[in-house]
């Protein structure tokens, strides 16, 4: 049975081992104890984050070495059985994904977002009507099996958000839940219904309240 280290007495002992925790070389019960301690101790949590950043930087100094000839082909062969199960993205869907990803990478700010999210011709985009703080947009691309991309930014989003699509015939399709941080988030989903049948999308919190909605009618 594990126990959390007390915030005061355990702090000093914990801080001595945080580096091993960050490096992933601490195992078993002690690792669990330290993680529990870090949940309670702001100072240790901060130091753990700094140590992890140090590790990330160290990994980047390893020099790049070209792998043996044929490596890429062998990797692709290894993932082939998995990739055959899934449909390929169209070039259009890729354009939407890159726009969404670039927006997220750019820090979710300002008018650049609107330009970056500008979808290709046949895609539809809609601003979310948010009940409360925050903003967001929805992009639908493709016709028979469209790709839905939802982007939320700013505001005060809960940790998890579910998505409900409503078709013109009144059918409700539940998606998610998706993890959303307080600063927003982005997710995508392949839909099994044609884009032309979509009427609207609603974002719903864990307690069932509607956080935002957007029209999707063609």
């Amino acid at each position: 049975m594990t126990r959390a280290l007390p915030n005061d007495a355990g702090h000093e002992a914990a801080s001595e081992e945080l580096a091993e925790l960050a490096l992933g070389v601490l195992a078993g019960e002690r690792r669990t104890e330290l993680l529990q301690h870090c949940e309670q101790c702001v100072a240790c949590r901060r130091e753990l984050a700094e140590l992890a950043q140090g590790l990330d930087a160290l990994l980047c100094v390893a020099p790049a070495v070209e792998p043996p000839a044929g490596f890429e082909a062998r990797v692709l062969a290894a993932i082939a059985p998995r990739r055959r199960r899934r449909p390929r993205l169209t070039a259009r869907a890729r354009r939407v994904l890159v726009a969404a990803a670039l927006v997220l990478g750019a820090g979710l700010t300002g008018a650049g977002l609107t330009r970056a999210l500008a979808p290709p011709a046949a895609a539809r985009t809609a601003a979310l009507v948010v009940h409360g703080h925050g903003r967001g947009e929805v992009v639908v691309t493709g016709e028979r099996s469209p790709l839905l991309v939802v982007r939320l930014q700013g505001g005060n989003w809960p940790a998890w958000v579910s998505c409900e699509l409503v078709t013109a015939a009144g059918q409700r399709i539940a998606l998610g839940p998706y993890a959303v941080g307080p600063r927003g988030g982005i997710w995508s989903a392949r839909l099994a219904v044609p884009a032309t049948t979509l009427d609207s999308v609603r974002l719903i919190s864990a307690d069932g309240s509607v956080l935002a909605w957007a029209p999707l009618r063609a």
């Binding site: 580096a19 990797v75 670039l102």
Partner: protein
């Protein structure tokens, strides 16, 4: 800003986050582009840890299989893709190394990581080219004993107890050396980021 369409025209030009999002939807072209982009970085890191080309290739291949399998759970808010893929590679390499023991891990073989004569640093979104030089300088400025402990833990996956045994030092000293070394590397980065 008119980069959106131009960059999206070829999978190889997509940013990491978009490649991973496309991989999560089973896009093989995105997977190939991702492998092409990171193969040398992943293989280089794996080779540093396991020290054997065949094992390093196995580790690298499994790294990309896992990236493909888990692309959907990658969260760009938690850090750049570079960090994500290199962390997967390191963990797999260390697991492999543990299975291969008692092959000894020799930190002296990692001298090029901090030596000023090390080859040009790759362009990196997680840690920029100049920052990588700073990290190398910070690594080089550690005492040899401190550096050995840090490299043993980082690239050899050794715990403080294992380092203490290998270096014939108390466990507490090994803990202190690892922590101080890692914080010094982090401080070098923080110093750069300070306005």
């Amino acid at each position: 800003m008119n980069w959106t369409v131009r960059r999206a025209s070829l999978p190889g030009g997509l940013p990491d986050e978009a490649l991973l999002a496309a991989m999560a939807h089973g896009d093989a072209d995105a997977g190939a582009a991702f492998v092409r982009r990171y193969a040398a970085r992943v293989y280089g890191l794996a080779l540093k840890v396991v020290g054997d080309p065949g094992l390093a290739e196995d580790v690298s291949q499994e790294t990309f299989v896992r990236c493909w399998r888990h692309a959907a759970v990658y969260d760009p808010r938690r850090g750049p893709a570079t960090t994500w893929v290199l962390t997967i590679a390191r963990n797999l390499a260390i697991d492999t190394l543990r299975l291969q023991r008692p092959i000894p891990f020799d930190p002296a073989l990692l001298v090029e990581l901090w030596a000023p004569a090390a080859g040009p640093a790759p362009e990196d979104e997680a840690v920029g080219r100049d920052a990588l030089a700073e990290v190398r300088v910070a690594l080089g400025s550690l005492s040899p004993a401190q550096r050995r402990a840090l490299l043993r833990a980082t690239f050899g996956g050794q715990s403080a107890a294992e380092i203490a045994e290998a270096e014939a030092i108390p466990v507490g000293t090994a803990k202190t050396r690892i922590r101080a070394g890692l914080l010094k590397v982090r401080a070098a980065l923080a110093e750069r980021e300070r306005p």
